[in-house]
């Protein structure tokens, strides 16, 4: 009987396609949008994840998030180092500057300055050369994504990625690319430059203070939260464990931007459109087939059989629609040069799938009601 039910559905090609496409659209929006949202959220704290070795981040009390720091004088570093329980503490600069490419173009870049000695904060994975090359004179590293796109160099034979050996100009100072690194893209999706802390000072001659954060490693056995509290009270700075800092960055970002509203509205609208279109079409489809359901009923098909038939029709619509939608979302997420990126987590898939399923189940329930109420005696009516 399922086979019959599915044939009835597929024979009504227009309605079937209409329902599948509307559910595919809903599935696409309901998975792609949260996935992009998730990706944006992780970008906001990408740097915290990249510097996983730091247990505690210390910053000026006015700093809001990893994206919005406030420079501190270098003297704060020794204050932090003197707190008991600190294994080591290193400075980190996070800022931005303009870079002139070999072809003369100027591009705004993010800049990370890492401790000269330990290089803590430099990206862990270098695609070419090694991190230690940052210690060479004028050395900077660039992130691979930026090197391939915004920092790409124009030549006679078209564009090529910025690479090792290329010279840049940073605030009238020469810089040489010594490495290309993999890094989590940032929210602003700027190209990133990495160099040593002391070279940041050379690049930023006019700035008195360039220390955005102090990265702290706790001594073994130390409770990170406790140590953070101690650093805060002894230095007057804000000290947060990496987890707390990530949460605060996220919170700040969500509060400051209306981003949740934007995504939420889009998702809600696509859900409503999908629900209305699919519900109406499914109802119509059943309405058209009502006579045939009546014939089945007269011939002795019981309510349970009819219910399962309609349910199987609904599930086929849901399955193909959702599959198509998620497929499209995945294709969109993997398009080359996609600036947003997306994180299609199992949770997002489950929620999207649940939404589509609930749409079709409610539609089916309405149709089932029609069919169960049907008087089999209508079969003799002309």
């Amino acid at each position: 009987m399922y086979q019959i039910a599915l044939k009835m559905l597929l024979a009504n090609r227009g309605k079937y396609l209409g329902m599948v496409l509307s559910l595919a659209f809903t599935s696409l929006i309901m998975t792609q949008q949260p996935a992009v949202f998730a990706s944006i959220l992780t970008r906001t704290y990408g740097l915290i994840d990249d510097i996983a070795i730091a247990d505690i981040w210390v910053m000026d009390p006015q700093a809001q998030s990893v994206e919005e720091s406030k420079a501190m004088p270098d003297t704060r570093l020794s204050l932090v180092r003197s707190v008991s329980g600190v294994e080591w503490a290193v400075p980190l600069h996070k800022g931005s500057l303009k870079v002139r490419l070999p072809d003369g173009n100027t591009v705004g870049c993010g800049l990370i300055g890492v401790d000269d000695v330990s290089l803590v904060g430099a990206p862990g994975v270098m695609r070419s050369s090694s991190m230690a090359d940052l210690r060479m004179s004028d050395a900077v590293a660039v992130d691979a994504e930026g090197a391939a796109n915004r920092l790409a160099v124009r030549t006679e034979r078209g564009m090529r990625p910025l690479g090792v050996g290329d010279a840049l100009e940073v605030n009238d100072r020469r810089a040489v690319v010594v490495g290309v690194a993999d890094a989590t893209p940032t929210f602003q999706s700027q190209p990133m430059l990495y160099t040593t802390y002391s070279r940041v000072k050379l690049f930023n001659k006019s700035e008195r203070k360039v220390m955005s954060f102090v990265l702290v490693k706790a001594q073994p056995g130390q409770d990170h939260r406790g140590l953070a509290a101690r650093i805060a009270s002894e230095t007057g700075l804000t000290a947060l464990t990496a987890d707390d800092f990530r949460a605060r960055t996220l919170q700040h970002f969500i509060k400051r931007t209306a981003i949740i509203m934007h995504f939420g509205t889009t998702i809600l609208m696509s859900f409503c459109i999908g629900a209305v279109v699919t519900g109406l079409m499914f109802h119509n489809f059943t309405q058209d087939a009502l006579r045939h359901f009546g014939v089945l009923k007269a011939m002795g098909a019981d309510d349970r059989t009819l219910l399962l038939m309609i349910l199987s029709q609904a599930l086929l619509v849901a399955g193909t629609g959702f599959g198509l939608g998620v497929g499209m979302a995945m294709i969109m997420g993997n398009l080359p040069g996609d600036p947003m990126g997306m994180r299609l987590s199992p949770l997002i898939l489950a929620v999207g799938g649940g939404a589509v399923l609930s749409i079709t189940l409610v539609s089916a329930a309405l149709s089932i009601r029609q069919v169960l109420r049907l008087e089999p005696a209508i079969v003799f009516k002309q």
Binding site: A11, H292, M299
Partner: protein, 237 residues
């Protein structure tokens, strides 16, 4: 099948329609009974009650000793699935299915495996002379062929009773005759009873008995010859 004191009222109060007013009728095994009468006299209502798809307001209807009115909806559906075949004026074939699939539906409702249902459906189509049309869509068949497919569907599960509402009125004379020959030939074998509602005087001769209905009552039961020569409104059409 024994119907006793069947009453059927549609609606309530002043606007109620009294479609059956005490029908007593018996149909024997192996018999072809025709129900005739003027439009609106209650013929369709009566076979709907006989087939167990409509509840009478009063009275009983026993098929094979089973009182249909006493059964709950599920066992009644199961009873219909096993014992009753349907033929409609408008064929009511499912356009999404092939001829053979349409014929297999009653077997599938009874829970037969698809393979076996299809095999028996093809055999039933052979029986009605459409062995070469098993894969055809109903829409590609002529009216007469569609009605033969519908007859195969009514027979395939070897029911004890087949009810037909105006099986020939959508067909021309020649096709109507063919359909009736077929129903006569395969419809009443093995003690199966056939009840046919019709307006069509040209097919009266195929029946064993004719019951005339007027205004919800059986006014006469007789042989085909008698009905044809009676002055009743049924023979006038």
């Amino acid at each position: 099948m024994v119907c006793a004191g069947l009453e059927k009222r549609y609606g309530e109060g002043a606007t109620a329609v009294h479609a059956l007013r005490g029908v007593d009728l018996t149909v024997q095994r192996g018999e072809l009974l025709m129900l005739v009468g003027p439009s609106g006299c209650g013929k369709t209502t009566l076979i709907s009650v006989m087939a167990g798809i409509l509840d009478p307001t009063d009275g009983t209807c026993r098929i094979l000793g089973q009182d249909m009115t006493a059964l709950a909806s599920r066992p009644r559906a199961a009873f219909r699935a096993r014992n009753i075949g349907f033929v409609f004026q408008a064929y009511n074939l499912n356009p999404a299915l092939t001829a053979a699939e349409n014929v297999s539906v009653p077997l599938r409702i009874c829970g037969a495996p698809v393979r076996e249902a299809m095999r028996r459906a093809e055999a039933a189509l052979d029986l009605v002379g459409l062995g070469d049309k098993t894969e055809s869509a109903p829409g590609d068949l002529s009216g007469g062929q569609q009605q033969r497919v519908a007859i195969a569907r009514a027979l395939v599960h070897e029911p004890q009773l087949i009810v037909c509402d105006e099986p020939t009125s959508a067909l021309d004379h020649a096709n109507g005759q063919r359909v009736m020959e077929l129903l006569r030939r395969v419809g009443t074998v093995d003690g199966r009873a056939l009840v046919i509602v019709t307006h069509d005087a040209r097919i009266f001769d195929f029946s064993d008995r004719i019951a005339e209905l007027d205004d919800g009552r059986v006014t006469r039961v007789g042989t085909p010859g008698a009905a044809r020569h009676s002055p009743g409104p049924s023979s006038a059409t």
